[in-house]
């Protein structure tokens, strides 16, 4: 499992425990989709990337696709604990303009209130 999903105050918290790259994005997408199929009432999400130390364009593209799908359903997605190396990828691709990024999961959860 590279995704551990839980619910906190009605908000989905998705903990990713591996690099998000071309090799893992399919698993990430499948595991997230299967959890979303069960928790149909969850609209807002926080993705915890504390354990993600590498991300390539496939990983980034998947996050953008997830964000798009969530916003289409009227929800929102925030990112927490973005590590240094993935942050650099976010910076050069201007992804920081697309996502709201917070230092901790708690901070991200507070922003939904």
């Amino acid at each position: 499992m590279i995704v551990a999903c839980s619910k906190d105050q009605g908000i989905g918290v998705i903990r990713v425990s591996n690099a998000l790259s071309a090799a893992t994005v399919d698993t990430f997408r499948e595991q997230l989709a299967s959890w979303q199929a069960v928790e149909v009432n969850v609209k807002n999400y926080v993705i915890d990337l504390k354990q993600v130390d590498f991300m390539d364009s496939a990983g980034l593209g998947t996050l953008i696709a997830v964000l798009k799908r969530i916003t289409e359903r009227g929800g929102d997605l925030k990112i927490a604990c973005l590590q240094k190396k993935p942050r650099m990828v976010f910076e050069i691709t201007r992804a920081y303009k697309v996502f709201e990024i917070y230092d901790t999961v708690d901070e991200a959860l507070k922003m939904f209130k």
């Binding site: 790259s21 590498f54 390539d56 364009s57 496939a58 240094k84 190396k85 650099m88 990828v89 910076e91 050069i92 691709t93 201007r94």
Partner: protein
């Protein structure tokens, strides 16, 4: 005075940048070693010893015998378990006339202004830590001995020679010195006759579409391409052979040579070296595997160069065999009729410094069938072909540069391939410097065969016209 450059100790932070051995890390698009040798030439040092370590081949290939800087370079390898300080002490009798020792990544910053009254303050200079010598400068043997024994040293700069050694002890310092250069210090290092008054320095063969926006201060190397709607600057150093794709913005960053930057990216406060993205603040390195984001845009040329060299050598052998008999018949006739002779001229040589090449000189300006045949068959290049077969010249490449007339050109060529045939053989408007830089940039087997065929065809149809 002598200079010793100890490059044997690896620098881990420089390995993170990748690409070249640390003495060749570029500062404002020139290797550190280039600045060291230039300083040696300026302060009158003629004998330089370079102690090599990893990347020895590349260091030696770059510096050669030192003739580009007017110094004489000797190379050696470091002995196992011998510290540079021990070596300098053991050979202290060699430093009677003074010593400049550099043992780490120092950038020799030129002082913009100095006070003559400061000249007497410093007699010697010594940097080091943990019992290791990193930098040492003493004008006399006594000063050097004292410094080697840990005597009077100083942490201050070298006022006597208007140089401030700036230690590059990590990626942030490396980025910092490059930014200092782009912010204005480059002006102290430009060749006489050049200037970067508006804060921009742009190399040869740089293509920018009208929609690309260049915002000084910036430094751009040779052979670069910028995509439409790209924004370069402010405070950007772009190395040689860099491609920036469309809609990408660069500011406050350092892009090292042979790098491709993809579309619609934003690079700030970073170093990009090939596919490595490096944080300028803390040196964090990310290897990007997506070649459409950032990538190294040039494979290692060594293998390709070797294959090209072998194929052309075989071609040259064939041409020489064909030319041998006509040359043996026609050249004695050309000499007997006193139309022309071969005279030895001195040219630059990348390996030995200088090379005597026989150049055909026309003595009489008269029409002659013999002379036309001689030229049409390109027999005036026959001796050069023989030298190419002996490995002294390339078959196709850049025109050999004369000494001393073209010394200035040589200093501007990072790669020098003196050859029998070049663009100058068939292009009337050939500019030696631009063509030489262009050749070094796009050299390939296809280009060489093109030069060879065009040279022969041009000469054959225009033989005797000049």
């Amino acid at each position: 005075m002598k200079a010793v450059f100890y490059t044997a100790d690896p620098l881990p932070w420089a390995d993170d940048i990748g690409g070249v051995p640390w003495p060749l890390l570029p500062v404002a698009n020139r290797p550190l070693l280039d600045y060291w040798l230039e300083t040696c030439a300026e302060i009158g040092i003629r004998q330089v010893q370079v102690i090599l370590g990893e990347g020895a081949d590349e260091v030696e290939e770059f510096a050669g015998n030192g003739s580009r800087w007017g110094v004489e370079i000797q190379y050696s390898f470091a002995r196992a378990n011998e510290q540079p300080l021990d070596y300098l002490k053991a050979t202290s009798n060699r430093w009677e006339d003074g010593l400049l020792f550099i043992g780490a990544a120092f950038f020799l910053r030129r002082r913009q202004a100095y006070k003559p009254s400061d000249f007497q303050i410093l007699e010697a200079c010594h940097y080091g830590a943990e019992g290791k010598a990193w930098f040492l400068y003493g004008k006399t043997g006594d000063e050097v001995k004292a410094l080697l024994e840990g005597g009077f040293g100083s942490d201050r700069g070298l006022e006597q020679i208007h140089v401030h050694p700036f230690i590059i002890d990590g990626i942030p310092a490396y980025f910092d010195i490059n930014m200092k250069m782009v912010e204005g210090e480059l002006q102290r290092y430009v060749t006489a006759g050049f200037s970067n008054v508006d804060g921009s320095s742009v190399g040869y063969n740089v293509l920018t579409p009208p929609s690309a926006h260049l915002r000084p201060p910036l430094i751009i190397g040779n052979d670069c391409r910028f995509g439409f709607m790209s924004t370069i600057g402010a405070k950007v150093v772009v190395g040689n052979h860099v491609i920036i794709d469309s809609h990408t913005e660069l500011s406050n960053c350092l892009i090292l040579q042979d790098t491709y930057i993809g579309q619609n990216l934003e690079i700030r406060n970073k170093i990009v070296s090939g596919n490595r993205l490096i944080s300028a603040e803390d040196g964090t390195v990310v290897e990007i595997t997506d070649s459409w984001l950032v990538a190294r845009n040039r494979p290692n040329m060594r293998t390709e160069d070797l294959v090209r060299y072998i194929i052309l050598w075989v071609l040259a052998l064939g041409i020489a065999l064909i030319q041998a008999i006509p040359f043996c018949i026609l050249y004695p006739l050309v000499r007997l009729t006193r139309i022309g002779i071969f005279q030895k001229n001195v040219f630059h040589d990348p390996k030995t410094g200088y090379l005597n090449l026989p150049v055909f000189i026309k003595l009489k300006n008269r029409k002659s069938i013999i002379y036309r045949l001689f030229r049409a068959a390109m027999l005036d290049r026959f001796p050069w072909l023989l030298l190419a077969l002996r490995g002294r010249l390339f078959v196709c490449g850049q025109p050999p540069m004369r000494h001393p007339e073209e010394d200035e050109l040589i200093t501007q060529l990072p790669h020098y391939y003196p050859a029998v045939f070049s663009y100058a053989d068939y292009s009337r408007d050939s500019d030696r410097l631009v063509d030489s830089l262009w050749y070094a940039h796009i050299r390939s087997l296809f280009e060489d065969v093109k030069i060879l065929i065009k040279s022969f065809l041009y000469r054959f149809f225009r033989a005797g016209s000049k």
